[in-house]
C-alpha cells in the first residue's frame, strides 16, 4: 500500500485534530485581518440607521435556538445595540418556537450592559412565545396586544408605553428575522406580502445562498449572512462609534479564514490522492 492509499484511509480523528488546531491557534494568536463590508449588510444597517427619530419601531424576531447561536446571537446583540444607541424603539420577540425565547433573553442581557439609560417598556419590550407559527405573523398584523396579551415578564402590553403605541405592522418600520431555517420566508409571505411591512434578515451561512432572490426583488431590505454578516454589522457599529462590547463574530473570523484554507487544502489533497490512485489502477 502506497503513501496516497494510506493517506486517503487515514483515521478521521486525525482530520478532527487538525481542524481543532486550526480553530484554536488563530483564537490564541489573532491575525487581525480587516472586515470587508458587503452591500446586503450595509443596506440593512443603513435602513435601521435611518429610522432614528422616526415614529416607528424595529421588530426583532429571534427565530433560532442554541444550535445556530454562534452565528445569529452576535447579529441580535449588534442590532439591539444599534437601536439602543440611536434610541430607536425595539420590540424583541422570542420567536416562533419556545426554545428560541432564551436566545432573545440572552441577547438583551448582553446588549443592555452599555446602555444604562435604556428604559424597559419605553425603549424596548420583550415578547414571549405564542404557538401558531405563521399564524402569529398574521396575528401581529392585526394586533400585538391581542396576539400576546402579556410581555415575557407577565406585564400587560396595554400598560407599556411602547406597545400601547405600536400595536401592529403600521407602526413597525422593519421586521428583522434572525433564523437559520425557512422562517424568514414566512415573514416575507405573511408580513411583507399581506401587510406590506419591510423585512430584513439575519441568517446562517447555510441558508444565506437561498435567500438571494428575496434580496433582488426587494422583499428583503438587506441580509446578514452567517458569522461574516455578524462581523460586518459589528464593524459598522464600531465605525459609527456605537459600543460593540466583545466582538465575538469579528474575533471568530480569523479562525474562520484559517479553517477555510485548511479545508480547501484537504479537498486538494483528497483529489490529488484520488486521481493518483485511479490512474495507477487504470494502468494496472
Amino acid at each position: 500500500m502506497g503513501f496516497w492509499d494510506r493517506f486517503l484511509k487515514i483515521d478521521r480523528r486525525w482530520v478532527f485534530l487538525v481542524v481543532w488546531i486550526a480553530v484554536v491557534i488563530p483564537l490564541l494568536k489573532p491575525l487581525g485581518l480587516p472586515t470587508h463590508i458587503t452591500p446586503p449588510v450595509k443596506k440593512l444597517y443603513d435602513y435601521i440607521d435611518r429610522m432614528e427619530g422616526e415614529d416607528k419601531a424595529v421588530f426583532l424576531s429571534f427565530d433560532f435556538d442554541p444550535s445556530t447561536m454562534p452565528e445569529l446571537l452576535p447579529m441580535g446583540v449588534a442590532i439591539i445595540r444599534h437601536c439602543f444607541a440611536k434610541k430607536i424603539p425595539i420590540i424583541v420577540y422570542g420567536g416562533l418556537y419556545p426554545q428560541f425565547v432564551g436566545m432573545a433573553k440572552m441577547a438583551i442581557d448582553m446588549a443592555k450592559t452599555d446602555f444604562p439609560d435604556i428604559v424597559y417598556g419605553k425603549d424596548y419590550v420583550f415578547l414571549g412565545y405564542v404557538p401558531g407559527l405563521s399564524l402569529v405573523i398574521l396575528s401581529i398584523g392585526e394586533s400585538i396586544q391581542g396576539t400576546f396579551g402579556n410581555d415575557y415578564f407577565g406585564n400587560r402590553l396595554d400598560t407599556l408605553p411602547l406597545t400601547m403605541h405600536v400595536d401592529n405592522y403600521e407602526k413597525i418600520g422593519i421586521v428583522v428575522d434572525l433564523s437559520g431555517s425557512s422562517i424568514p420566508a414566512s415573514w416575507v409571505a405573511y408580513a411583507y406580502q399581506r401587510y406590506g411591512c419591510r423585512i430584513g434578515c439575519g441568517t446562517t451561512a447555510v441558508s444565506a445562498a437561498q435567500y438571494y432572490p428575496y434580496l433582488q426583488t426587494g422583499q428583503f431590505v438587506g441580509m446578514l449572512g452567517g458569522l461574516k454578516g455578524a462581523a460586518e454589522y459589528e464593524e459598522l457599529l464600531e465605525r459609527n462609534g456605537i459600543p460593540t462590547g466583545r466582538r465575538t463574530a469579528t474575533i471568530g473570523m480569523d479562525a474562520q479564514s484559517v479553517v477555510h484554507l485548511l479545508i480547501i487544502l484537504l479537498i486538494i489533497l483528497g483529489n490529488i490522492g484520488y486521481f493518483y490512485v485511479r490512474r495507477r489502477e487504470r494502468r494496472a
Binding site: L8, R12, V15, F16, V18, V19, W20, L31, L33, P34, T35, H36, T38, D65, P66, S67, M69, P70, Q99, G102, M103, K105, M106, V130, P131, G132, L133, L135, V136, L138, S139, E142, S143, G146, T147, A205, A209, Q210, Y211, Y212, P213, L215, Q216, G226, K228, M253, D254, Q256, S257, V258, H260, L261, L262, I263, I264, L266, I267, L269, G270, N271
Partner: protein, 215 residues
C-alpha cells in the same frame, strides 16, 4: 363522523381562509381576525400534547423493556423534571421542588446547560464536514468540478483572508451569489412554491389526507 366530517372541516376552513384574502368586507375581516388571533392560536397550544406523548412513550418504553442505554432515558426524564421544577417550583411549598427553584435559576439552566449542550452538539458537524470534504468531495465529473470550484471560491471569498489575497475576490463571490446562484435558487423557489400551492389545494379538496393519520 370519523373520516368525512374532518375532511368537510378542512375544506370549509381552507376555502374560507383563502377567499377572505380577496374580500375586504368587515364580516370577512372580523372572521379572519377571530380565527387567526384567537381560535387557531388557542387550538395550536394543545398540539404540544403530541410532542410530549411521543417523548414520554419512547423513553418509558425504553426503560420498561430495559433496552440498551435505557439509563439515558432516565436522564432525559430527570432533565424534564429539573426544568419543570426550576420553572414551577415556586408553586410547590417546601421539598425538592422548592429547593431546585431556589438554587437553580430557570434562565441559568437554559444559558449554562441547554444552550451549551445544543450548541456543542451541532458544532460536531464542523469536524464531520471537514472529514467529508477530504474523503468525498472529488472532481469526478464536469458537474462535480463546477460545484467544487464554486465552493472553493465562495469559501475563500467570504473570509478576510480571501480579500487579503486578492481585493476583487469578495466582489466575484457577491456576483456569483447575486446572479447565477440567485437564478438557480429562484428556479427552485418557484418550483417549491408551486408544490406548496398544489399540496394546499389537495388538502382543501380532501385528496391529501395523510395528516389525518395513514389514509
Amino acid at each position: 363522523m370519523r373520516r368525512t366530517f374532518p375532511l368537510v372541516i378542512a375544506f370549509t376552513m381552507g376555502l374560507l381562509m383563502m377567499i377572505q384574502y380577496f374580500i375586504p368586507h368587515p364580516i370577512s375581516q372580523k372572521f379572519y381576525k377571530i380565527m387567526v388571533q384567537q381560535w387557531l392560536i388557542i387550538i395550536s397550544i394543545f398540539f404540544y400534547v403530541f410532542a410530549w406523548r411521543s417523548f414520554g412513550l419512547y423513553h418509558i418504553n425504553k426503560i420498561k423493556r430495559r433496552k440498551e442505554g435505557w439509563w439515558a432515558s432516565v436522564v432525559a426524564f430527570v432533565g424534564v423534571f429539573f426544568m419543570l421544577l426550576a420553572g414551577f417550583g415556586d408553586r410547590i411549598p417546601g421539598g425538592i421542588g422548592h429547593f431546585i427553584y431556589k438554587y437553580f435559576n430557570f434562565d441559568d439552566l437554559y444559558n449554562y446547560m441547554f444552550a451549551p449542550l445544543q450548541a456543542t452538539m451541532f458544532s460536531l458537524l464542523a469536524f464531520f464536514i471537514a472529514s467529508a470534504a477530504f474523503r468525498a468531495f472529488k472532481a469526478r465529473t464536469m458537474e462535480a468540478t463546477l460545484l467544487l470550484v464554486t465552493a472553493t471560491i465562495v469559501m475563500l471569498g467570504r473570509v478576510p483572508l480571501g480579500a487579503s489575497m486578492w481585493k476583487g475576490l469578495p466582489k466575484v463571490v457577491e456576483w456569483i451569489l447575486m446572479y447565477p446562484n440567485m437564478a438557480a435558487q429562484r428556479g427552485i423557489m418557484i418550483g417549491v412554491g408551486l408544490g406548496m400551492i398544489a399540496t394546499s389545494m389537495k388538502i382543501i379538496l380532501g385528496i391529501e389526507r395523510s395528516y389525518l393519520g395513514g389514509e
